[in-house]
């Protein structure tokens, strides 16, 4: 099961806050975060790593990034 967070158009630190909230809920094993800036992509990836989660893959579609985060 996975859950998707739409953080497009939101500026820092909101994408990170939303990601952390979802990680802390511990309901899904896979979290997909959609962001639309390079900086948000870096921030979300860094935050996931700090929570002991792995970034499995990042796919890019135009300006959008889909970051797939999984629990290690």
């Amino acid at each position: 099961m996975s859950t998707t967070i739409d953080a497009r158009g939101l500026s820092c630190p909101q994408p990170v806050l939303m990601t952390m909230d979802e990680i802390k809920k511990r309901t899904e094993n896979e979290i997909i975060v959609v962001v639309d800036s390079e900086a948000s992509k870096e921030n979300v990836s860094r935050a996931a790593a700090s929570q002991g989660c792995g970034v499995r893959k990042i796919t890019q579609d135009g300006d959008e990034y889909r970051i797939t985060i999984v629990r290690d």
Binding site: S11, C12, Q14, L17, S37, E38, N43, A47, I58
Partner: protein, 361 residues
Amino acid sequence: MVKNFFASRWGIIGVGAFIGIAAALLQKLGNPGNMGICVACFERDIAGALGFHRAGVVQYIRPEIIGFVAGSLIAALSFKEFRPRCGSAPVVRFILGIIAMIGALVFLGCPWRAALRLAGGDGNAVIGLLGLAAGIGIGVQFLKNGYTLGRTQDSPRAAGFMLPLFMLGLLVLMLIYPGGEAQAKSGVLFYSLKGPGAMHAPLLVSLGVALVIGFLAQRSRFCTMGALRDLILFRQVHLLSGFISLVVFAFLANLLLGQFHPGFAGQPVAHTMHLWNFAGMVVAGLAFALAGGCPGRQLFLAGEGDGDAAVFVFGMITGAAIAHNFGLASSPKGVGPHGIAAVIVGLAICLIIGFTMRKKA
């Protein structure tokens, strides 16, 4: 995927080091004391040069501000990160910009200058930085409780060039109407004949150094407010390591250049009213936190096409005019006649924004 070195830990430490050393050198080359770079002060000087306020000692089109925006624009265009966007509560950002500037001018410096004042030995900066942290701490509480200014939208490409073009316009004005000896007005521009506004490094040096800083800061996402916010909110020290690096390297450069003078009294462009140094920075820190970036970061975001950040910048320039016209700004003698009232009103407005701007349930 090309790795962005500047977004790494060593990258941001390197950028902080570069900014710290560059600021100390800019001071050596003519910028005011402990003010090698101050985003708030320099935007205030621009407001003065344009005649928006008539405080005679702080009037100069600071090329550093122009360079910050241009450097970020160049980096964003080079790395395909230029993305015109706006529409995230611009009018709220404008108001936050005004309040941030007023708070900063009660302390006499933005977070950048607070760091540089510390690195120059000004003990009052410690109190200002504590105020900054307190203000950001309040902002973090709002963020945790759902504070948001809403989503941006992609906008036509031209929208992203508005602030860069405004800055280009300032540079052109400066070249058409250069400052000269004993000349307070050149064409449409005002220049200071004495005081901090009369102290500046050579134009091309300031512009060149700022272009590099703008470029590096766009790549690294350097932010002095984010440094403390991420520490308080996430216990993350990534941005903080860049901010600390700035202080450490500016301090070392100041030592080498003979610019380190520890003490509280008689510091350049500073006053010793501790309570108001603290309170001014509480207000500024809260306003920066609610707007999502320190004044430098707002310039770099505007350079990569963020129209909301550009609105914040115009808010700060407007705030400078208000601060000096209404006697809100401090001077080395202490707070201005209405500075204390401004701090209270500014704090109240920020709190109202913090409580009311939130996600719809």
